[in-house]
C-alpha cells in the first residue's frame, strides 16, 4: 500500500509540474508596460514554488516507499539531527523567498498603484453598474461634467447622471460602452460604481481593480500594442455577473483621435 501511495504521489507531482512547465495553459499575451514585470514575478514564483512542490512531494513519496510496512522489522530511524535542521531549512529557504519576492513584488506593485499616473495621461472616467461598463471622455474642454446619481436614466442613455442643461462641462462629455485608448500613451482611469461592487479586469494588461460604491479609485496603465481584448467583471455583482464584459480597443494615436472625433459627433 505504501508503494502504491508513493507511486501515485510521485506521478501526480511530476505530471502536475510538467503541465506548468509545458505551458499548456498559460498567461495570455501581454500588451502593457507593466506586464513583463508581473509575468517575471509569476515565473519566478512558479520556479521557486514548483521546485519546492516537486521536492516535498518526492521526499514524502520516497520516505513512504522506503519505510515498507510493519512486516519489515528493520529498526526505526530518527530524522538526522532532529527538528533543528528542518527548522533551519524552512526558515532559510522560505525566508529567502519571502525577502526576494517581497522586494521584487513591492516594486511592481508600487509602479501600478503607488506611483501616480504621468501628467500626459489620457483621463477616462469609468462607471460600472449591473451589468455593464461605461467609459466617459472629457471632450474638447478637457473637463468632466459632474455626475448626479438622481439623474441617472439608462433608458435615455444618461448613464452617468449628467446635467448638460446647467453644467457646461458635461455638454461635450463623450460616453462609450467600450474602452478605446491610444497605444503607448498612459491612460488614467477613475473607477466608480453606481450600484454594487464590480471589478475591472483585463487579462492582457495583467490589471485588475475593484469598483467600490462610494469611492473613486484611480488606476493607470499604458498599452504597448494595437489590439482588441476583453474587459471582464470579476467581483460578484448579481445574476448577470458572468455576462458583464466589454472590450478594450487599443488604437494608434491617429485612429484614436479619429474615433474620438466620430464619437463626439454622434453624442
Amino acid at each position: 500500500m505504501g508503494k502504491l501511495f508513493a507511486a501515485i504521489v510521485a506521478a501526480i507531482a511530476l505530471v502536475s509540474a510538467g503541465v506548468f512547465v509545458a505551458r499548456i495553459w498559460w498567461l495570455p499575451p501581454d500588451i502593457s508596460t507593466l506586464g513583463p514585470a508581473i509575468d517575471r514575478q509569476i515565473v519566478e514564483t512558479m520556479v521557486a514554488t514548483g521546485v519546492l512542490f516537486v521536492l516535498a512531494q518526492l521526499a514524502l513519496a520516497w520516505f513512504v516507499w522506503g519505510t515498507g510496512d510493519e512486516k519489515n522489522r528493520r529498526p526505526i530511524k530518527r530524522f538526522p539531527g532532529g527538528a533543528t535542521p528542518l527548522v533551519v531549512i524552512a526558515c532559510t529557504i522560505v525566508g529567502i523567498e519571502i525577502i526576494t519576492l517581497t522586494l521584487i513584488g513591492s516594486k511592481v506593485w508600487a509602479r501600478i498603484f503607488l506611483e501616480p499616473a504621468p501628467p500626459e495621461a489620457l483621463h477616462v472616467d469609468v462607471q460600472a453598474g449591473q451589468f455593464a461598463f461605461y467609459f466617459r471622455y472629457a471632450g474638447a474642454d478637457g473637463k468632466f461634467g459632474t455626475p448626479h446619481p438622481d439623474k441617472i436614466d439608462e433608458g435615455s442613455g444618461n448613464f452617468f447622471g449628467l446635467d448638460p442643461a446647467s453644467d457646461t462641462a458635461a455638454r461635450d462629455d463623450i460616453v462609450s460602452a467600450e474602452l478605446v485608448v491610444p497605444v503607448n500613451r498612459p491612460v488614467l482611469l477613475t473607477l466608480h460604481a453606481k450600484d454594487v461592487s464590480h471589478s475591472f479586469f483585463v487579462p492582457q494588461l495583467r490589471l485588475q481593480q475593484d469598483f467600490v460604491p462610494g469611492l473613486d479609485i484611480p488606476l493607470h496603465f499604458t498599452a504597448t500594442q494595437v489590439a482588441k481584448t476583453e474587459i471582464v467583471c470579476t467581483q460578484l455583482c448579481g445574476l448577470g455577473h458572468y455576462n458583464m464584459k466589454t472590450y478594450l480597443e487599443v488604437k494608434s494615436q491617429a485612429d484614436f483621435d479619429q474615433w474620438l472625433k466620430d464619437q463626439a459627433a454622434q453624442q
Binding site: M46, T49, R73, I89, Q208, V212, G238, H241
Partner: protein, 577 residues
Amino acid sequence: MTTISTPHEAAVHHHAPPDSFIRKYVFSLDHKVIGKQYLGLALVAVCTGMVLSWYMRLHLGFPDAKAPGLGLITPEQYLQLMTMHGTIMVFFVLTTAPFAGFGNYVLPIQVGAEDMAFPRFNMMSFWVTFVAFAILVASFFVPEGPALSGWTAYAPLSAVGKDAGPGQGLGQTLWAFSILFFCIGQLLGSLNFIATTLDLRTKGMSLARLPYCTWAWFITSVIGLIAFSVLMPACVLLILDRVAGTSFFIPAGLVVSDRLQNHGGGSPLLWQHLFWFFGHPEVYIAILPGFGIISTILPVFARKPLLGPNVFLACMVAIGFLSYTVWGHHMFLSGMSPTSATIFSVPTLIITIPAAIVTLLWIGTVYGARLRFTTACLFCLGFISVFVTGGLSGFFLAQPSIDTYLHATYFVVGHFHFVMGVAAMFGIFAGTYYWFPKMFGRMMDERLGKIHFILTLIGVYAIFMPMHYLGMAGNIRRYSSFPADYMGVDLPVHRWITIAALLTGAVQLIFLYNLIRSRFAGEAAPDNPWQATSLEWSTTSPPPFDNFGGRHLVVAHGPNDYGVAGPDGRDYIMQAE
C-alpha cells in the same frame, strides 16, 4: 497497567446519567453525544454541499445539460448553488466536523475529564448551530430562493435588499441570521473548549502532556472566540441594513435597478474588513484541528514520536497569532490603501514559515518510520501531500503584484480547496477512521477504506489541480457560464473537472456505505485497537457515560511515547500508566 488514584479536584465534573430518550439522545448534556450530533450534522451538511457542487459542476462542464430536478440551470440558480455550497462547506462542515465534532467527543476524554466544563452551554451550542443550519436550509424554500452573493456576502450587494435582484430578498436575510446563530453556537463551544482544557485536566495532565489534537482544538478555540466575536456583530449590522433601514455598509448615491437608494454614510469596505477579520482566521479554524489530528495519528502508525513536538506547538501558536494579521490579503484589489496591501503581504508570506516547518516535521516523522498503512494513516499522508500543494500556491496569492492577475480566477479556487477544503476533509477522514472504533465500539472496513482513500486522492488532484491551470489562463471564478469569449476555449478543462468531481463524489458513497455498515455490522473494536497512548484509549470502546467508569486517571507520560521500550514488551507507553 492503568493508574487509579484520588481524583484531581478540577477534573471532577458530575452530572447524572440521563434517564429518558430525549435527554440521552436529543437534548443530551453528554459531550460524546453532542460530538456525535455535530458530526451527524456535518455529515448531512457535507452531503448537501457536495450535491450542490455537482449541480454547479454539471452546469459548468455541460452548460446545455438539464440538471435533475432543476432543468436548465439559470445564472441566478448557479450563484445560489455556489453561495450555499460555500456557506455550508465552510461553516457547517469544515468548522463543525474537525473542531466542534471531534473536539467535543475527544477533548474531554483526552484531558481526563468526565465532561465539558459547561455541559448546558455545550448542548445549547449544538442546538443553536442546528437552528442556524435549519435557517439556511429553509432559505431554499422562500420566494426567489436562497442568497446568491457568495459565502463572503459582499456589501452592498448583500445589503441593499430586493432591488439588487433575485436572491437578495428574504433568502439573503435568512443567510445573515443563519451565520449570526452559527457564531453564537461557536462562541459557546469555544468558551467550553478553553475552560475544559484549562480547568478540567486530570492529575498529571500538564499542558506539556496534552495530546497535539487537544492543543490544536484549544488554540482553535482561542482563534474562534475572537473571530466569531467579530463576525457576529457584523451580521447584526448587515441584518439592520437589510431590515431596519440603517446604512452601515451602504454609501450614499447608489442607484440600484434604476432606483436611488435611501441610504448614506456606510462603507462597503467596512463589511470586507469585518468579514475577513473573521474569514482568514476561519481558514485556520478549519485546518488547525487537522494539524492536531494528523500530528496525533501519524506517530501512532509511524510507531515513532512526532518529530519536534515543541517546535510543532510553537508553530501552531505562531500560526494562530499571525492568522489575525493577514486578513487584508483578501482585499489587495478592494480599493483599500495600496500601502496597506504591501503591509498585509508581509505577514501573509511570513505565516508560510511555521506552516512549512510543520510540514517538514511531518515528513521528517515519516522518515525511517515503520508505517502501519491503515486508512487513517493513509489519510494523514494524503493530508501532507494536499497541504503542501495548497500551501505553495498561496505564495502566488500572497503577493499583491501577482494578485492583480490571479485574483478572482480559478487559481484561487484551486488553492483554497486544496489547503482548506481537501486538507481539512482528509483530516476529518483520518479522524473518522481513527476514532470510529472508540465512538461506536466497532472497526471500520479497512479494505473499503483504502479503496476510498486511493480513489479520493487521485480524484481531488484531478479536480483541483486543473483549476490552477485555468487560473493561469485567466479563467474567472463565480461565472455561471463562459460564452464565446477568451474563456470559452477553457470549456474542455471544465468538462474534465466536472467528470472528475462527479466520479470523486461517487467514490464518497464507498465511505458512506462503510460508515453505515461498520456502525451496525463492523468487527467489535478492542479498547485500544491502534496501540495508541492518549487517554481515550485507556477506557472502553465506546466509553461509559462518565468516560472512565468512575476511575480517575493519573497521567505520568506525554502523548508521544512511541518507539520506546514500554511495559510488557510494547513499543509505546500509555499516558496513564
